[in-house]
C-alpha cells in the first residue's frame, strides 16, 4: 500500500512539474516568476491540512491515550512546519521581483508567520519536556489550543493590514484561464500526496522509536530488579529518547 502511495506521489509530482514548466501559460504581467504560484499555494493549503491533522490527532490522543495518535501528531507538526517554512521562503522569492521587497506586514504574510511561530513552539515544547508521556499530553493541549487561534489571528491581522493578492482561484468567478487552474489542481494533488507519503513514513519512524524506547525501558527495569536496585529511566535526561 505504501509502495502504491510512493508511486502515485512520484507520478503526480512529475506530471505537475511538467505542467508547471510546459503547459501552464505565462502570466501577462508577472512573466515566468509567477510559476512559483504553483508551488507556493499548494504548500500553504497542505500546511493547513497538516495542522488540521495535528488537531484531530491531538484530540484523539487526549481521548484515547494511544501513543499511535501522538506519533501521527508529532510527524504532522514537523511536516507542517517544513511546509510553512517553504511557503514563507517561496513567498519571499516571489515577492522580491514582483513587489521589490522580501517581506511586508500584509495580513496573509503576517498570519502565516505567526502560524509558523505557534508550531515551532510546539516542536520546542516537545524537545524541552523530559518525560515523553507528559510531552505528548502537553503538546496535544497545545495542538488543540493553538489551532483555535488560527481564525482569530487571521481576522485580527486582516483587519489590520492588506496587500497580498486577493484570491484569484478560490472565489465564485475564478479569474484565471483553465490551463492555470488545471496546473494548480494537479500541483495541489501532488503536494497532498507528498504530504501523505511523508506523514506515513514519519509516523512509522516515530512508532518504531516509541517501541524501541519501551523495549529498552523494559530491559533496564528487568536488569535493575535482578540487581536489586531501583530502575533507571531511559528517557529523563536522554536527548535521544
Amino acid at each position: 500500500m505504501t509502495k502504491a502511495l510512493v508511486v502515485a506521489t512520484a507520478v503526480t509530482a512529475a506530471l505537475a512539474l511538467a505542467m508547471i514548466v510546459g503547459y501552464a501559460p505565462n502570466e501577462r504581467v508577472q512573466g515566468v516568476v509567477q510559476r512559483i504560484f504553483y508551488f507556493h499555494v499548494p504548500m500553504a493549503w497542505v500546511a493547513y491540512l497538516a495542522f488540521s491533522v495535528v488537531l484531530v490527532a491531538s484530540i484523539a490522543y487526549l481521548w484515547k491515550r494511544d501513543s499511535r495518535w501522538d506519533a501521527v501528531a508529532r510527524a504532522s507538526v514537523e511536516i507542517g512546519v517544513l511546509f510553512t517554512t517553504l511557503v514563507l521562503v517561496t513567498g519571499s522569492l516571489w515577492g522580491k521581483p514582483i513587489w521589490n521587497t522580501w517581506w511586508t506586514w500584509d495580513g496573509r504574510l503576517t498570519s502565516t508567520l505567526v502560524l509558523w511561530f505557534i508550531y515551532v513552539g510546539y516542536l520546542m515544547l516537545r524537545a524541552y519536556t523530559p518525560d515523553p508521556e507528559r510531552a505528548a499530553r502537553l503538546s496535544a493541549v497545545l495542538g488543540i489550543v493553538g489551532f483555535l487561534d488560527i481564525p482569530i489571528i487571521h481576522f485580527s491581522v486582516q483587519w489590520w493590514r492588506t496587500l497580498h493578492p486577493e484570491p484569484v482561484i478560490a472565489r465564485s468567478d475564478p479569474q484565471a484561464p483553465p490551463e492555470m487552474i488545471l496546473t494548480l489542481v494537479v500541483s495541489l494533488v501532488a503536494m497532498t500526496l507528498l504530504y501523505t507519503t511523508l506523514l506515513v513514513y514519519r509516523t512509522a519512524l516515530e512508532r518504531i522509536r516509541d517501541e524501541n524506547r519501551e523495549l529498552l525501558q523494559g530491559e533496564v527495569n528487568e536488569l535493575s530488579t535482578q540487581a536489586g536496585r531501583a530502575p533507571v529511566s531511559t528517557t529523563v535526561g536522554n536527548p535521544n529518547a
Binding site: L62, V114, L115, F117, I118, G121, M124, L125, Y128, T129, P130, D131, R134, R137, L138, A140, V141, L142, I144, V145, G146, L148, D149, I152, I153, F155, S156, V157, W159, W160
Partner: protein, 223 residues
C-alpha cells in the same frame, strides 16, 4: 454552582494572601514595568511630538512583558514549594482552579497596569481618556491572564521554563496585541471610535480562551 464559586474563592484568597505576605511578585513586576518604560524611552527616542502615536504600543508591550514575568513565577513557586500537589489532591474542580489562577493573575496585572499607566502619563505628559482605556485594558488583560495561566501551566513542565512561556504565549496573543493597540486609539486621542470591532475581537478572544483553558487545564495538570 455556589460550591464552584466557593472553590474559586478559596484558591484565589490563598494566592492573594500568600502574595500579600511577601509582596515579592507584585513589587518585582511593578519595578520591571517602570524600568521597561524608561528603557523604551531611550530605545525609541520618545519625543513629545510622536509619543502619543507610539505610546499605545509601548504601554501595552510593557504590560505584556511584566505580566509574563508574573505568570511564570506564580507557577514556578507552586512547583518548587510542592504546593501544587496539595492543590491537585484537594477535591477541587480543575476549571475552578483555572479560574482562580486567572483571577489572581488578572488582579496582579491590573495592579501593575495602574502603576504603568500612571508612570506613563507622568513621564511622557500624554493626556489619556481613562474610561475607554480602562475598558480596553480590562479586556486585553483578561485574555492575557487566561492564555498566560494556561501556558504557564504547560511551560512549568519543561526545561528552560522562563523562555518557554514567552515562546509559546506570544504568537497566541497576537490578536490581543493588535486589538489593544488599535482599540486604545480614542483613549490616546488618536482618532474617533473605530474601537468597537476591536473590542468585540478582544471579547471573543477572551471567551474562547477562558473556555478552552477551563477544559484544557485538567489535562495540563495531570500528574
Amino acid at each position: 454552582m455556589t460550591a464552584f464559586v466557593g472553590q474559586v474563592y478559596a484558591v484565589l484568597a490563598k494566592d492573594l494572601l500568600v502574595e500579600w505576605r511577601s509582596r515579592d511578585l507584585v513589587i518585582a513586576m511593578i519595578v520591571f514595568a517602570f524600568l521597561a518604560l524608561v528603557t523604551f524611552n531611550f530605545a525609541l527616542d520618545l519625543r513629545p511630538d510622536m509619543v502619543s502615536a507610539v505610546g499605545r504600543g509601548v504601554l501595552w508591550v510593557v504590560v505584556v512583558f511584566a505580566g509574563t514575568i508574573g505568570l511564570g513565577r506564580s507557577f514556578a513557586a507552586e512547583r518548587d514549594q510542592g504546593t501544587l500537589e496539595g492543590l491537585l489532591i484537594a477535591p477541587l474542580d480543575r476549571s475552578a482552579l483555572f479560574f482562580a489562577k486567572v483571577l489572581g493573575n488578572l488582579l496582579f496585572m491590573a495592579l501593575v497596569e495602574l502603576v504603568a499607566v500612571a508612570a506613563f502619563v507622568a513621564l511622557f505628559n500624554v493626556a489619556i481618556d481613562p474610561l475607554p482605556l480602562a475598558a480596553t485594558l480590562a479586556l486585553g488583560t483578561l485574555g492575557l491572564a487566561a492564555t498566560g495561566t494556561l501556558f504557564a501551566g504547560i511551560a512549568s513542565n519543561t526545561r528552560a521554563r522562563e523562555v518557554m512561556l514567552p515562546v509559546l504565549l506570544f504568537p497566541i496573543i497576537v490578536p490581543i496585541l493588535i486589538g489593544v493597540v488599535q482599540a486604545s486609539q480614542p483613549a490616546f486621542g488618536e482618532g474617533a471610535a473605530r474601537e468597537a470591532p476591536w473590542l468585540v475581537l478582544l471579547a471573543t478572544f477572551d471567551v474562547v480562551y477562558l473556555a478552552a483553558g477551563a477544559v484544557a487545564f485538567e489535562y495540563v495538570l495531570e500528574e
